[in-house]
Amino acid sequence: MATVAPSRVRTGRGVEIPLLLLALTLGIGGYALVGLATGGALPAGFGGYAATLAVIAVGLHLILRWRAPYADPLILPIVMALNGIGLAMIHRIDLRLDARGLTAGFGDRQELWTIIGAACAAAVLILLRDHRTLRRYTYTAMIVGLVLLVLPMLPGLGVNINGAQVWIRVGPFSVQPAEFAKIALAVFFAGYLVTHRDVLTLAGPKILGLQLPRLRDFGPIVLAWAVSILVLVRQTDLGSSLLFFGLFVAMLYVATERWSWILIGLLMFAAGAVLAANVFGHVGARVDVWLNALDPEIYNRDPGGSGQLVRGLFGMASGGLFGTGWGEGFPDLVPYANSDFIMASLGEELGLTGVMAILMLYLILIQRGIRTSIGLRDGFGKLLASGLSFVVALQCFVVVGGVTRLIPLTGLTMPFLASGGSSLVANWIVVGLLLRMSDGARRPAGEGGGGLVSTETSLEVVPGDAEPRARDRDVTDTGQFASDDQHTEVVERP
C-alpha cells in the first residue's frame, strides 16, 4: 500500500466553525421556535440561553485550538447540537409544567449542568496532556468505580428516587454515581486488558473449542464486573447493569479478538435476564409491559403499568413523520418527559424525521469515536476510546429501544439530551477524553505532544526497519511505525 504523505495535515479546526454554527442554530433555533409557538414571542431567558451555548461552543473551540489542535472536528459540534436540542426540549417541557402548576426549572438547572459539563471537558483537555497517563491509574480507577457504585447503598448518603437506589445526596444535589463509575470502569478495563490481553488470549484450558483464560488472569476483572453487576441489581438499576455488562464484553472482545467472548457474554446475559425476570418482580413486570403494552389491564396496572410507555408511543405516533413542530405537541403528558422519555418528546415534536436525524448524529459521534480508536497507536487508547464509544452507543440503544418498545424499558438516560446533571457531566467528560484521544490519533508524526510514554507489555517490542504489518496499517496511517500492539505470535520451534 503506497502512502502519499500529504504536505500538510488538516487540523479540522476550520471545518469545526461552520459545523458549530449549525449546531448552535439547532439548539437556539429550537428554543426560539418553542417560544414563538407557545407565546408568540421569544421565551423568557432566551438571551441568556443563547449566550450560554455560544460561549461554551466558542470556548471549547478555542481550547481545542490551544490544547488539542488535531482533535476530530465532528465530535464537539455533534455534542453541542445534541445538548442544545435537549436543552430546548427541557425548557419547552418546563413551560408546560409551569402552566400546569407543577415543579419546573429543569431547564435552568440543565443549563448550569451544561456549563459544568463543558468545563469538565475543558479541564480534561487542559489537564490531561496525554491520555496514556490514565493507564497509571488502572487499579485506582477500579477502586473508584466500585466505590462509586457502592455509595448509594450507604445509609445516610444514598437516596431512593422513583424506586431506584442509585442516587447520593451531595449538598443540594442528587448525583447518580453510576454515570461516573462507567468512565472509571472503562479506564480500568482498558488498562487491565491491555496489560493482560496476551495471557487472556492464549494461556488457559480449551473447552468445547472455546479458549478460556486462566482464572488468575481473569479473576480481578470478573470480580470487578461481578461486584458492579450485583451492586446494580441490588439497587434495581437494570439499565446500568446492562450497560456495564455490554461494556465489559465489548472491551474484552476488542482486546482478545475472540468472538467466543461475545458468545459467552450473550449466554451469561440471557441466563441473567431469565433469572432476573423470575426473581425480581419489577423485572418481570417490565417484560410484561414490553410484550403486552397496549393491554388495558397492563396499561392501568399500578405500579408497574405500561401507561408511561404507551403514552410515549402515543406521543411519537401523534408526531408522525414530520412532528408537530417545536412547542406544538403535548410531550408533558408522559411522565419524565424531559429525562427518561425525552426521545419520545422529541419524536412527538420533531417527528420521525427528527428522531432519525438525532440517531444519525449519535451514530456519527460514536463512529468518530471508533475511528479515533482505530487511529490510535497504543492499545490502552484503542480500548478506552472504543469502550467509551460503545458505552454511549449501548446507552442510546437501551433508551431508544425501550421507548420504542424494541426492548423492555430500563431506566437509563439519553446521553447529552436527557435532563439530569450526573449523566450530562459524565458524558461531557467522555467527550473530553474522546477529543483528547482523537487529537492523539490524528496528530501527524513529528509534532509534539504524542511522545512515547510507555509501552504495553514488559517485553518491549522495538520495531526494526521492517514494514509495519498491513493489518495494523490504516488509511490515515501517517507512516509511523506502530510502536506496540503487535500481536505476539507463538511460533513452534522445529
Binding site: 479478538e257 405516533a317 401523534s318 440517531l359 482505530i374
Partner: protein
C-alpha cells in the same frame, strides 16, 4: 485490535438501524392505530388546541369555539344548545356526535378540501383554523317547531320537498351539549353517564334514529301509493270496508277501525274516503290483496331499508321480514314490525309534494374555509322515485281531502291548502302505554314549500285516531305557518 474494532463498528451500525426501524414502526406504521386509540388524548388535545370552525344557522353560529385560558386553549360553546343539540351533536372529550362528528374534518381544518388553507397557514405561520359548516336549518322554523312540541316527547322534521334541504329538526327530550364539551374530565364523564342512563334517552335524535316508531295510520299513504301505482286502483275505486277484518289464518283475531265502529254504513268505500277517515279494514284488506312482497317493494321505493347520510346517519326504516298474510294486514296499517323515522315519513309526504320524486335530504348547505371562501355548496339530488307524477297528483288531492274533510282537520290553515295524513300508532309495549300520535303533511298543496312529519310520543289516546290528530296535527300546522310566513 483494528479488525475487532471494525466489527464492533458494524455491530453499532446494526444497533442503530434497529433503533431507526423501531422508531419508524411506531411513528409511521403503527401511528394510525395509536392515534385512534381511545386512550390517546393527544388527538383530542390537538383538536381542542385549534380554533375549531363554527356551525352556522342562517348567519349565526350555533356552535363555536372561544379562546380560554386553560390547557386546551379553546372552549366549544353552543348557543341555544338544547334546541340544536340533535343536529350539532356535541364535541366531547371522549366522543363526538351529530354534525360535530359527521363534519369533524371540516370543522377541525384537516379536511382535504381545506388543503390550500393549510398550505397557506404553513407559510404564513398562522394557527390551523377550522372551516365553517353552514346548515340548511331555518332558525324561525326550528324555534316554531320547538315551541309547538312544547313539553311533549317526540320529534319534528321539516324539509323542502323541492330540494331536500332540512328546515327544522327537533327532538325531545334533548340535552345541552355545553355540559359535554367541558374541559373537566370528571364532570364531563358524570354528565355523559347521567344522560346515558336517563330512561327518556335525551341523547337520541328521534327524527332519524333512536328506537324508531311504529308508523300507525301514516303508513296508509304507502298503501295508497302501492294501489294507485299498480294501475288497478284509482282514488275513486271501491274498497271493502267491513267493521271487522278477520286476519287470514286466524280464528278470531280481527282488525277493527279506530273507535271500533264501522267505516261507513256501506260495505265498501272509495279509497279517498278510506284515507279521509282513516279506516283500518280497507287497508288491511289491500295489504293482504297485494301481499308482503309488493308492500315491501313499495316501502323500499320510498327508501325503507336504505342507508342515508344527511350527513348524520339515518337509521333505515323497516317493516320487518317474512311476513305472513296476517302480519301483512297489520303492517298495512302501520303496526306489527313497522319501525320508521319521522324523516322517512316526511319524505313520504315530500314525494307526493314533489311529483313523486324524493330529493335527498341534507343538512349541510355549504362549507367554507378559514378565510370564508366557499369549499362546498350543496346541490340537490334526486334520491328515490316511489311513484309517478300522476299518482302524486292524485294523492295530493286525497291528502288535501284528509285535512279539509277528515281526521286531519286540526291542521287546517285558512287560505292555504294543507295536505296531510294523521296516524295513531300502538306502541305495542303495554296496554297502559298510550300510542304515538303522528302527522305527516306538506303545504301549500299546489306549490309545496315544506313537508313536515311530527310524532308525539304517548300523545294520542288509545285507539282514537281523531284524538291522535288533535295532538300532532296542530304542531305540524304551526311549523307550516312558520315556513309560509318567511
Amino acid at each position: 485490535m483494528n479488525s475487532p474494532l471494525r466489527k464492533l463498528s458494524i455491530v453499532i451500525v446494526v444497533m442503530f438501524f434497529a433503533l431507526m426501524g423501531g422508531a419508524t414502526w411506531v411513528q409511521f406504521f403503527q401511528a394510525n392505530s395509536l392515534n385512534n386509540d381511545a386512550r390517546n388524548v393527544r388527538t383530542l388535545y390537538r383538536d381542542y388546541g385549534h380554533d375549531r370552525g363554527p356551525i352556522v344557522v342562517d348567519g349565526t353560529s350555533v356552535a363555536y369555539s372561544v379562546p380560554v385560558d386553560d390547557a386546551f386553549g379553546f372552549q366549544r360553546t353552543y348557543a341555544n344548545g338544547p334546541l340544536y343539540a340533535p343536529v350539532t351533536g356535541y364535541y366531547g372529550m371522549y366522543s363526538l356526535s351529530g354534525i360535530e362528528q359527521a363534519a369533524n374534518t371540516v370543522l377541525n381544518g384537516t379536511d382535504d378540501s381545506l388543503l390550500l388553507a393549510r398550505i397557506r397557514a404553513l407559510f404564513t405561520g398562522a394557527e390551523q383554523q377550522g372551516g365553517t359548516v353552514e346548515l340548511t336549518l331555518d332558525p324561525v322554523v326550528q324555534q316554531a317547531a320547538w315551541d309547538a312540541l312544547g313539553d311533549n316527547n317526540g320529534a319534528i322534521v321539516a324539509l323542502d320537498p323541492n330540494t331536500g334541504a332540512i328546515l327544522a329538526m327537533v327532538s325531545k327530550p334533548t340535552f345541552d351539549p355545553n355540559v359535554l364539551a367541558g374541559h373537566t374530565s370528571a364532570e364531563v364523564t358524570a354528565a355523559y353517564q347521567a344522560l346515558l342512563a336517563d330512561p327518556s334517552d335525551p341523547l337520541f335524535n328521534r327524527t332519524i334514529g333512536g328506537d324508531l316508531y311504529p308508523a300507525g295510520s301514516t303508513f296508509k299513504l304507502i298503501d295508497v301509493a302501492m294501489a294507485l301505482e299498480s294501475g288497478e286502483y284509482t282514488p275513486d275505486s271501491q274498497v271493502p270496508a267491513p267493521t271487522e277484518f278477520l286476519l287470514p289464518g286466524t280464528q278470531d283475531t280481527y282488525i277493527r277501525n279506530p273507535g271500533g265502529g264501522p267505516c261507513t254504513a256501506e260495505d265498501t268505500v272509495t279509497l279517498t274516503y278510506a284515507l279521509q277517515v282513516s279506516c283500518n279494514t280497507p287497508f288491511a284488506a289491500l295489504g293482504v290483496e297485494f301481499g308482503a312482497d309488493a308492500l315491501t317493494a313499495q316501502t323500499e321505493a320510498f327508501g325503507f331499508g336504505r342507508d342515508l347520510e344527511i350527513p348524520l346517519s339515518v337509521t333505515p326504516s323497516t317493516i320487518g321480514e317474512d311476513l305472513d298474510p296476517a302480519q301483512t294486514a297489520m303492517t298495512a296499517i302501520g303496526q306489527f314490525d313497522t319501525r320508521v323515522t319521522p324523516l322517512q315519513m316526511a319524505m313520504v309526504s315530500a314525494a307526493v309534494a314533489n311529483d313523486g320524486v324524493i330529493m335527498e335530504p341534507y343538512l349541510v348547505a355549504a362549507e367554507r374555509g378559514p378565510n370564508l371562501q366557499l369549499t362546498y355548496s350543496a346541490s340537490p339530488r334526486e334520491w328515490a322515485t316511489p311513484m309517478s307524477a300522476t299518482t302524486a297528483a292524485q294523492m295530493t288531492d286525497m291528502m288535501v281531502n284528509v285535512v279539509e274533510n277528515g281526521t286531519g282537520h286540526p291542521a287546517q290553515i285558512s287560505g292555504v291548502q294543507v295536505a296531510g295524513k294523521t296516524g295513531t300508532a300502538e306502541t305495542g309495549l303495554a296496554d297502559d302505554v298510550a300510542p304515538d300520535a303522528w302527522f305527516t303533511s306538506f303545504a301549500p298543496a299546489d306549490a309545496p314549500e315544506v313537508a313536515v312529519a311530527v310524532v308525539v310520543e304517548d300523545g294520542g289516546q288509545l285507539g282514537d285516531e281523531a284524538t291522535g290528530a288533535q295532538v300532532a296535527a296542530p304542531i305540524a300546522r304551526a311549523v307550516i305557518q312558520a315556513v309560509l310566513a318567511e
